[in-house]
Symmetry: none
Subunit: 414 residues, 2 copies
């Protein structure tokens, strides 16, 4: 049996609901999609629940599922995945926190949870923290800059736990909290102590930092504390090839997704011009995917623009993004040849433009294969047609389905 | 509420894809099925994923699922089920291997992995091995003849493990491998040692066997080693009646399926003329099912012909097999009376005739009940109509569904 190449295209936040500005159509319905429509002649379509029906997925938990890893096993909290997204390399058992640069007064009362929102010196501050705070009680400490005011903090060492409470009081006017053990274990007690020492040290370093003296001179609030939340043990992800036998690559410009793909051992490519935003260079992404398909069995192409438009409530931008993704599909299929690959197109979750947030609705999914199958003869690919399709799956099924229809699955049993 | 008899008919490898020789129809579509069509007036139909979407089931894992036992709990590997199929009675904790009679030279380099493919003396050789090798280091050893050159080896005793590597080098020209522990445990170490002693003893017994002297005289390769692979702990299966309260019987001529049904405590019947092949005596199977339905609540009728035809790529034979199964359905329903039973007809997996191997596609499923239900008013029972039906289930749901619609299920909760 011919083993086909696999192309998985995820349009982040693709799923939607009827939009009043579109006279009740969804963006996927409203978009002109000649390339995708052409694939419908030999495709199955349907609906996917990235986690399970009604559960609102994060992009992290849904991508884990789609790559065949149960988030209930591998996902212990956002801290670890925020750190991955910020470029951290994590070891099994590391404890990671999400954090904010914030402004406190000398009594450690929070004055601004985001240090005035605009923080251009994040890189500098993280560098200074990494130079001045390397270890506390034999536990290694690392800081990673996230987007805007965000920062991830990673603890590495023996006898640490993620069962500790946040230092972030979550409201301004309140004092930075003491981290407390959330279970009766020496590891949790020890970790809370380390976090409390860390908080004090971070304040000392940042409060006397030249960066913050400059900010104060310029009339800006100092970024003189890091508020921590969401402690999470990192459960080491297996490599994608270890359980799929696929040589895999990813095209993405989104930090969190790139971090996950890197951890899975994929070759991650971010073409020049790919931004993770509405203005991304679609053609550069198509070209990167075409190149990667030459050398890899599996190429994952992630496009964030649909989600970015949804979060901003920009209906026309979402429609436009889908139409550009359709061109990407056309370019890749024409180049690689429609007889040489199977192609799945779906989203990692719904982000209805009128909701502006992720939702737990199922997401339309399309699977094109280059040989005769029981195809759904759908007239269009959208949320309404998808309801009538034959696929009704969960995110965790995606990888198995791709292996099956590319003739690359191994039999489970005899 | 009347409790109905349950008839479950599994046509092995029933599911298929459009077949070019049938002008794009599937065998199930092409087959003339008056008896099944007649049941559609009061049936639900749909699709079943024997394990989960995309996973390619073995006949063993899928039958476990269909009988309500999660293979992820009960299935530790093929060795144990190969042994069941070969007639072994296994105890919880036994470690079983799949094996081949093969030919090695005096340096234990594999010359032929199947000892010349045609091995008519398997029974004799297994008998000799069982007489001469009964125990190694307090662990009981048993050999069972499988089909053709296949043999199963079972270890019974305390402190043994299935975490040991194969002795089968999987390629000719390589030396028989030493079994190695796959984890750092005394049990794994001990088992690997036993296997290595066993391999040597097997060679000594077989190499000096009269059978092999005869084979060499006749110009055939000696079957002078057993190559082992797929070590698997046997997890004792509960009896089917313990969790269903059903008195159950099975009609099958296929070793693996018979082994599983026996372990589940079913009364297993193989009528004279039933072969497990294309040439099986369908009428004898129908008669056996009719007899068993008198004394049992649940009768499972397994027909291998559809799978056998699929593996051989024989489209017309598969269509013919389905048409004969339709006659079996008609004979049983007419005899037992359509008001007296519920009937499920499905496959344990798809074996597309053009693929000639199991695939992970969903399988069409039909459930007839003798009282008014929300029926699917399907025009035909095939892969395409099944997509539009109301059932969208997994193998593990089958037993619960049968209990429910036969009015034999117990409430889960208050």
């Amino acid at each position: 049996m011919k083993q086909y190449k696999i192309l998985l295209i995820i349009a982040d936040g693709l799923g939607d609901r009827p939009v009043s500005k579109l006279n009740g159509l969804t963006p996927l319905e409203a978009a002109n999609k000649p390339a995708i429509s052409d694939l419908l002649k030999n495709s199955m379509i349907g609906l996917m629940d990235p986690i399970s029906p009604g559960v609102i997925p994060g992009s992290d938990t849904s991508h884990l599922s789609i790559f065949g890893l149960d988030p209930h096993v591998y996902y212990r909290g956002r801290g670890a995945f925020e750190a991955l997204g910020a470029g951290a390399t994590l070891k099994h058992g590391d404890v990671a926190f999400r954090g904010n640069f914030a402004t406190v007064n000398n009594d450690l009362v929070v004055v601004d949870r985001r240090a005035g929102r605009k923080l251009e010196e994040g890189e500098e501050l993280v560098k200074e923290l990494n130079e001045k705070i390397k270890e506390i009680n034999d536990v290694k400490i690392r800081f990673y800059k996230g987007t805007e005011h965000r920062v991830a903090v990673v603890l590495s060492g023996k006898g640490i736990s993620d069962k500790v409470s946040d230092t972030d009081p979550h409201y301004e006017g309140l004092k930075v909290l003491e981290s407390k053990p959330l279970e009766d274990s020496t590891e949790a007690l020890r970790t809370a102590e380390i976090i409390n020492i860390l908080t004090r040290k971070v304040f000392d370093v940042l409060n006397s930092s030249e960066v913050n003296k400059r900010r104060i001179e310029q009339g800006e609030k100092p970024a003189n504390i890091v508020l921590l939340r969401g402690a999470a043990h990192y459960i080491k992800l297996p490599s994608f090839s270890s359980y799929t036998k696929l040589k895999a690559a990813a095209v993405s410009a989104t930090a969190l997704i790139k971090g996950i793909c890197r951890e899975l051992g994929m070759n991650v490519v971010t073409p020049v011009g790919a931004t993770g935003g509405i203005d991304t260079d679609y053609n550069a992404k198509a070209k990167a995917a075409i190149e990667l398909l030459k050398e890899n069995d599996f190429v994952f192409l992630h496009i964030k623009a649909t989600d970015a438009a949804s979060h901003d409530g920009l209906v026309e931008e979402k429609v436009k993004a889908i139409e550009r993704i359709d061109k990407v599909v056309g370019t890749i299929v024409d180049n690689v040849g429609r007889d040489n690959l199977i192609l799945m197109f779906t989203g990692d979750h719904a982000t209805p433009v009128e909701v502006k947030e992720h939702s737990g609705d199922p997401v339309p999914i399309l699977l094109y294969v280059p040989y005769p199958i029981i195809n759904d003869n759908a007239r269009d690919f959208n949320e309404k047609e998808a309801r009538k399709g034959s696929l009704r799956i969960r995110g965790l099924d995606v990888t198995n389905i791709l292996l099956n229809y590319s003739n690359r699955a191994e039999k489970y049993g005899a």
